[in-house]
Symmetry: C2
């Protein structure tokens, strides 16, 4: 099944087993390790917070409930206090205090993460960015937006659209997720193919370090080569190295024309050929190339009552074009569609140019995650692979699991070589999990893929890091963590494997 040599496998498993720590459930390296010896929150601490944040220090268990559990309801913590600062200075004072008192802190944005990275594991103090929602500046010549970390992505999108710009990222959770959380996760999403990753579009960050120091790297320049690019440390580090309090980001002009095509293919090979043809013929106007399989479509129909707008097919593609000339774009799209229909790469399709219909077609892709939540329990995997390999994993997994799984579905970002593999079960099932893991990670490692393309490692995936990164790299990550957060108070139990903490 896999070409990992016996030695490779033994080495990786040794590191993974070792990294589980003594207390983790031996069958489930995604479970929490034992609580680390942080201080407990005292009445004196609460008094300090209440003075600093009057009316914004939440201790009511009912109000805390939704912040203690992740969106998927798979991970739940027991935090007894939620802090809602409005300013960077307040975040700085909170962290300085917590660091001195050895109190652990879980930074939280919109809490839409999928790997248990944004909720406390034990009684960590929740530091929420929900009241940090001010746009600071927007320059409509350069397209550079600077805002506080708690701005909701969709609100920023609306703000920009009124000014003829768009955000360089878009994702299904846009109605809830915060830009600070997006950056902490290094979220990918639906526009990465066109506008690139946040590592290129984020121009500056303001970050509060574990000891309360404010690091102002909030540049608003496209180019700046004065020393090491410190902001990159905080992009994608899931709040373990600092709390992002403000972001500056380069926003593209709003395209004058947008078209969306929803197409059906009878095999994944044909889908890949359609992708190659599409890149050649749509070129610079291609802004997304996404897919879902027939199992996803069934779940959309069953649980969300969405309607499949085309003939039933094994695979569906969502293609978006965005450009500056509607006539040219339509001509390119038309020629492309003619080519793929006459060559029978595509069996059926529909095109939308009008906003409501565009939104309806996009929802077939964006709402797959939501449809899956109605299935019971979902084991979620977010895998990068060479694009020609991505669906082989779904098929091999189906064969491997047989009747054990209720559903094995695949969807994701073809243009980025990013598969979302989801396996559902009526409820949590340790035997199923044991059949999936480490199989899925070994499979990915064999093809030099990444075991987390865009979701991050959080709590759930932290101990699998060795499948994608060599020990030297993980050890260096540990040194960086120790340098920036020597007491380990920032988002403990996340990102780094247990043998590094």
């Amino acid at each position: 099944v896999t070409d990992l040599t016996a030695v490779d496998r033994a080495l990786i498993q040794h590191r993974c087993v070792h990294s589980r720590g003594l207390g983790a459930s031996p069958g489930n390296p995604g479970a929490a390790p034992p609580r680390l010896p942080f201080s407990r929150v005292t009445q004196e601490d609460l008094a300090f917070f209440r003075t600093l944040l009057p009316g914004r220090t939440i201790t009511d268990p009912d109000l805390l409930k939704s912040s203690n559990v992740d969106w998927l309801k798979t991970v739940e913590g027991n935090s007894e206090v939620l802090l809602r600062p409005k300013t960077t200075e307040e975040v700085s004072q909170i962290l300085r205090y917590c660091n001195e008192r050895n109190l652990a802190v879980c930074p939280q944005g919109g809490n839409t993460g999928l790997v248990g990275g944004s909720v406390p594991v034990f009684d960590e103090i929740i530091l929420s960015t929900s009241l940090m929602k001010q746009v600071i500046t927007f320059d409509n010549i350069s397209g550079i937006l600077t805002c506080q970390a708690g701005c909701v992505l969709e609100n920023l999108s609306n703000y920009l659209e009124e000014r003829d710009f768009i955000m360089p990222l878009d994702l299904g959770a846009k109605g809830s997720c915060h830009i600070g959380g997006n950056v902490s996760t290094n979220a990918g999403g639906l526009r990465l193919l066109r506008y690139g990753s946040l590592r290129g579009t984020v121009l500056g960050l303001e970050v509060v370090l574990a000891d309360g120091r404010i690091l102002n790297c909030l540049a608003t320049l496209r180019k700046d080569n004065t020393g090491y690019d410190l902001k990159q440390l905080f992009i994608g580090s899931e709040g373990t190295l600092g709390v992002i309090t403000a972001v500056s980001i380069l926003c593209p002009r709003k395209p004058k024309a947008v078209n969306v095509a929803f197409l059906g293919c009878s095999s994944f090979q044909q889908l890949l050929e359609t992708f190659q043809c599409c890149r050649g013929m749509l070129g610079e106007i291609l802004s997304a190339f996404e897919f879902l399989d027939a199992s996803c479509m069934s779940l959309l129909e069953k649980h969300l009552k969405l309607t499949n707008p085309i003939t039933e097919s094994p695979f569906y593609i969502v293609i978006e074009t965005a450009g500056s000339n509607a006539t040219h774009d339509e001509e390119k799209l038309h020629k492309f569609l003619e080519e793929v229909m006459t060559s029978s790469l595509v069996t059926d399709g529909t095109v939308a140019t009008e906003a409501t219909k565009i939104k309806a077609l996009w929802s077939l892709r964006e709402r797959v995650t939501e449809a899956l939540t109605h299935e019971g329990y979902t084991y979620k995997y977010d895998i990068s692979l060479p694009v020609e390999k991505i669906y082989d994993l779904v098929q091999d997994m189906r064969g491997h699991l047989g009747d054990m799984a209720k559903n094995v579905v695949g969807y994701g970002h073809v243009g980025d070589g990013n598969l979302h593999l989801n396996i559902t079960s009526p409820s949590k099932d340790p035997a199923l999990l044991a059949a999936i893991e480490p199989y899925v990670y070994e499979w990915t490692s064999k093809w030099k893929g990444s075991i987390s393309a865009e979701h991050g490692l959080g709590l759930k995936k932290r101990n699998y890091i060795y499948y994608s990164k060599p020990s030297e790299a993980v050890a260096l990550m540990g040194s960086i963590k120790a340098m920036l957060d020597p007491k380990g108070i920032l988002n403990p139990y996340k990102t780094l494997p247990d043998n590094i903490h």
Copy 2:
């Protein structure tokens, strides 16, 4: 002249003066600090290197000469040994040995840097990547190229063009510069406007750390969120944190159609309006928007005998389009030109679609640097600013310097807000330098610009870092340096200011 408050100025100058160290020439913080107490190369060391690298351990002073001096001939070192490894393993053995022996090392690529970052300051061992020139893999589906660090940029471009792809970066020095050096510098160049910075396009790096450890982060995936993105530490850190030995990079498809327009404008304001109009009308096919002023044109005519293809103008623009449909692109370009000519934003212009003529038009922009070298001594500044401010600096500098300078010229990347300000003099002139600096840095700091947009800090600019970065950020850079290279053997005297070493 500047709005820096007296307190700001005093603070920055205090840090800059402090950072010069005791031995630096007090009037010239770009000069070298005293030699640090590294070991001297002994006969025993040479014997070790000759065994490791037979025939590739160069000690002949004549052969060493060109590696001891920078391209601009402004900085010269006294290294007595140049090592030419072919493999990562050899680089690892060299560094492990040097680290144990406390020997300083200057990593060198094509030696085309403009800030004295790629030549030794004293007797550092030169570690050249010139024999590490193998392409490792190229995937013509994903466009991901993996190669050794010493590949010359132009060779990679030619390799890719045969396969219908292009490199995501292009710069004047392409015939000599190495991709490893480009990445170490975080080079910007002529295509950044379209394809973004190396922070987005570089997907993986292999790096040898100061103690010889090999860090393999040579991923070939568009997305990978498994832990901290370590490779970012080495992009733009000028060889001070590790030696890059291999690079994987995402390459765009070769555009089917390329057009270049060379236009004249009678004021910088009109040039800016042309830029705004261009972004709207050329949109996704715009791949470069560059400018030079009339003084640059005079130098091209005088020193390189190039011919101005259009009517004399105060400002010249080079616009490049790159797209997938020649007819559409020409139509967009034609409409744009019609608009800017009829509205008199542009006074004259010429367009090229044929390769030789495109090359000729581009050389008017690319060869400005070369033309300047014929003027005597050139003081070079590479400044990021809000785009509407970039030429004000040239004009203010002209007023400020009066007759002291032979020429004050401006050119650069309008699309990136990046000005190359160059001030020439028949020979080195300390009085002129004292009039330029810190004036130019204060001016830049006042507008929240960067004192190095794309050239890096190297030796020459290291002590000016505080004009663009707060002390907390510089201190953190120092901690990272200390963590990765505790003995400071890698490219000493570069990037970090003297008070951090």
